[in-house]
């Protein structure tokens, strides 16, 4: 599946929910599917510190594709991180650096993307793009 196909699927899933609490229940559930970052990678360099919650992110580059493992100390953030990882993992650096992540806005969690909220997710997306750009230049060499 392409990045956008995965995003569309998420948006469709969220269309089923009637109220916010159902939505959050699902998000929290999704957090449990997150491929967890190994303890050894929970280093200060891999920590993305927001004002409220923390996110750890680790990227691996194999056979031209990036995979991510991550964790967060807040469950809602963890659920969102899980979706981002699911959407982007297994794609090429080029696909990732060019991807436009619209699903977070479309499922109504845009507040998580505002830099003022700085809960880690916003900075995590920037970090992922940076990894992607770094690895794409590597791939070209």
């Amino acid at each position: 599946m392409t990045i956008n196909e995965k995003q569309d699927e998420i948006v469709e899933d969220f269309g089923l929910f009637e109220d916010w609490m159902e939505k959050y229940e699902y998000i929290i559930q999704l957090g449990k599917n997150l491929p967890l970052i190994e303890e050894q990678y929970k280093t200060p360099e891999n920590l993305i510190k927001g004002c409220q919650s923390k996110v750890w992110l680790h990227a691996e580059y194999n056979d031209g594709k990036l995979t991510f493992t991550a964790d967060s100390d807040a469950l809602i953030t963890k659920g969102l991180v899980s979706m981002v990882v699911q959407v982007l993992s297994g794609h090429t650096p080029k696909e990732i650096s060019e991807a436009e992540l619209y699903f977070i806005d479309q499922i109504g969690l845009r507040s998580h993307l505002s830099s003022t909220r700085s809960n880690g997710l916003f900075s995590m997306l920037k970090q992922i793009k940076m990894y992607a750009i770094a690895f794409s230049s590597k791939a070209l060499q």
Binding site: W20, M21, Y24, E25, I28, C51, Q52, S53, K54, D73, A74, L75, I76, T77, N119
Partner: protein
């Protein structure tokens, strides 16, 4: 305390809570389809119609620059501005009108004192005493000044309830201390500090005291002459007034000795390229065109508080706090952060292992506004070894019904996050 209604009627409870709530347009609104439950009053309070109208009137009817115009509007605006100064003076019972300096908020007032007092009185090796409870705005200005002057900070520790350890305070108070700067009420824990005792002990050694009253001014009556406090800072927006206006009270003798904080119009007597001379108090510390509309709004906010009655406000908020503490206590795994015997209208808590941010977000979607995070008191959170708290903070316009909604909301969040 909760069945004290007889006393309340003698303390200006001349209107019912519904009528009081009707004064605040925002309390009639809904968020995510729920009636707004606003429990973030320690961050900022809502504004009554009279304040909004006063600011609107200024811009519509007599907007003009103050203190210099010869024309009618300028005179009218100047009068309103100076009436506001007298109103603040009365409200905190300052001896002189010119001891009231308008700033843009508590933060600026503290920065002003740190900068000007520091330049005049602080030398290498000196210390400034603060406490572990302080908001960043009562830490960083002193840190900046200390770095500049070769001085350092002394920090009064707290006990596990979130109260200042007064015996440690006594021990720390030595001849190196040039100023004690502490909060009157903790913004995170709601602890009310023994400020009278602190001031008496510091004064016994001729050390002046500055109080950060940002979280006190809206809850308790403050008499600066009774306290004999040297500097006091507070913000308009936490006392039902507008943002962008605050007050620094300072004793005349100290303010006269201190150099100006900022240069500009209004604060000068004569200007030449060789040497300028400065205006008298309070104008010496009020460079530039002030926030006229906001100052006028603050005056009306004080009038509004007086019309409700500070005694009534205090009793009503204590009732709400007592009720909230009792109800929240019933929630499994809920623990309070800070359990000071003397507290004002804030409660900080955590539920089990849940992250405060998650609880706050789930409350938000139920229409309940609370604050989560470190509340600009990172050192304090480090002492408790927690990433932050959920803080519910109350005002007299809150109701027991709203607290019930908070409790229900927290229970729902706990289930989802469990």
């Amino acid at each position: 305390m909760f069945n004290d209604n007889d006393t309340l009627t003698t303390k200006k409870a001349h209107r019912g809570i519904d009528q009081i709530r009707a004064d605040f347009p925002i309390l009639q609104t809904t968020v995510y389809g729920h009636p707004l439950v606003y429990l973030d009053n320690a961050a900022t309070t809502q504004k009554p119609n009279v304040v909004l109208k006063a600011m609107d009137d200024y811009y519509k009817i007599y907007n003009s620059n103050i203190h210099r115009g010869v024309h009618y509007l300028s005179q009218k605006a100047t009068d309103a501005f100076e009436v506001a100064r007298r109103r603040v003076q009365e409200y905190i019972n300052a001896k002189h009108e010119h001891e009231i300096i308008f700033t843009k908020g508590t933060t600026e007032a503290i920065n002003l004192v740190a900068s000007s007092f520091g330049k005049r009185y602080v030398k290498p090796g000196d210390t400034i005493m603060i406490s572990e409870l302080e908001h960043h705005s009562n830490i960083i200005p002193w840190q900046l000044m200390c770095e500049d002057r070769g001085a350092s900070l002394k920090v009064i520790p707290i006990n596990e309830k979130g109260e200042l350890k007064m015996e440690a305070f006594d021990a720390l108070l030595d001849e190196t201390v040039k100023l004690v700067a502490v909060s009157f009420v903790s913004n995170t824990l709601g602890t009310v500090n023994p400020v009278k005792e602190i001031i008496e002990k510091a004064h016994a050694r001729n050390i002046p005291v500055m109080l950060d009253a940002a979280q006190a001014i809206q809850h308790v009556g403050i008499d600066v002459q009774f306290l004999d406090v040297d500097f006091l800072a507070f913000s308009g927006h936490k006392m039902y007034g507008p943002t962008g206006v605050g007050v620094l009270y300072g004793k005349e003798s100290l303010l006269n000795e201190m150099p100006p904080y900022q240069g500009g119009g209004e604060m000068i007597k004569t200007v030449s390229f060789e040497k300028s001379t400065y205006n008298v108090l309070p104008f010496k510390f009020e460079a530039g065109t002030p926030n006229v509309a906001e100052v006028i709004g603050l005056e009306v906010a004080i009038n509004y508080i007086n019309s409700i009655g500070l005694d009534f406000i205090r009793e009503r908020e204590q009732q709400l706090i007592t009720y909230a503490l009792g109800q929240l206590q019933e929630i499994d795994e809920l623990r309070f952060i800070g359990e000071a015997a003397e507290r004002a209208a804030s409660i900080s808590f955590l539920v089990g292992d849940t992250h405060p941010f998650d609880v706050g977000e789930l409350l938000d979607k139920q229409g309940i506004a609370v604050r989560t995070g470190h509340h600009c008191t990172e050192p304090l959170m480090n002492i408790f070894k927690i990433p932050g708290t959920v803080r519910a903070s109350f005002a007299f316009y809150n109701t027991e019904e709203e607290i019930d909604k908070l409790v229900k909301g927290v229970k729902k969040a706990a289930v989802l996050l469990g």
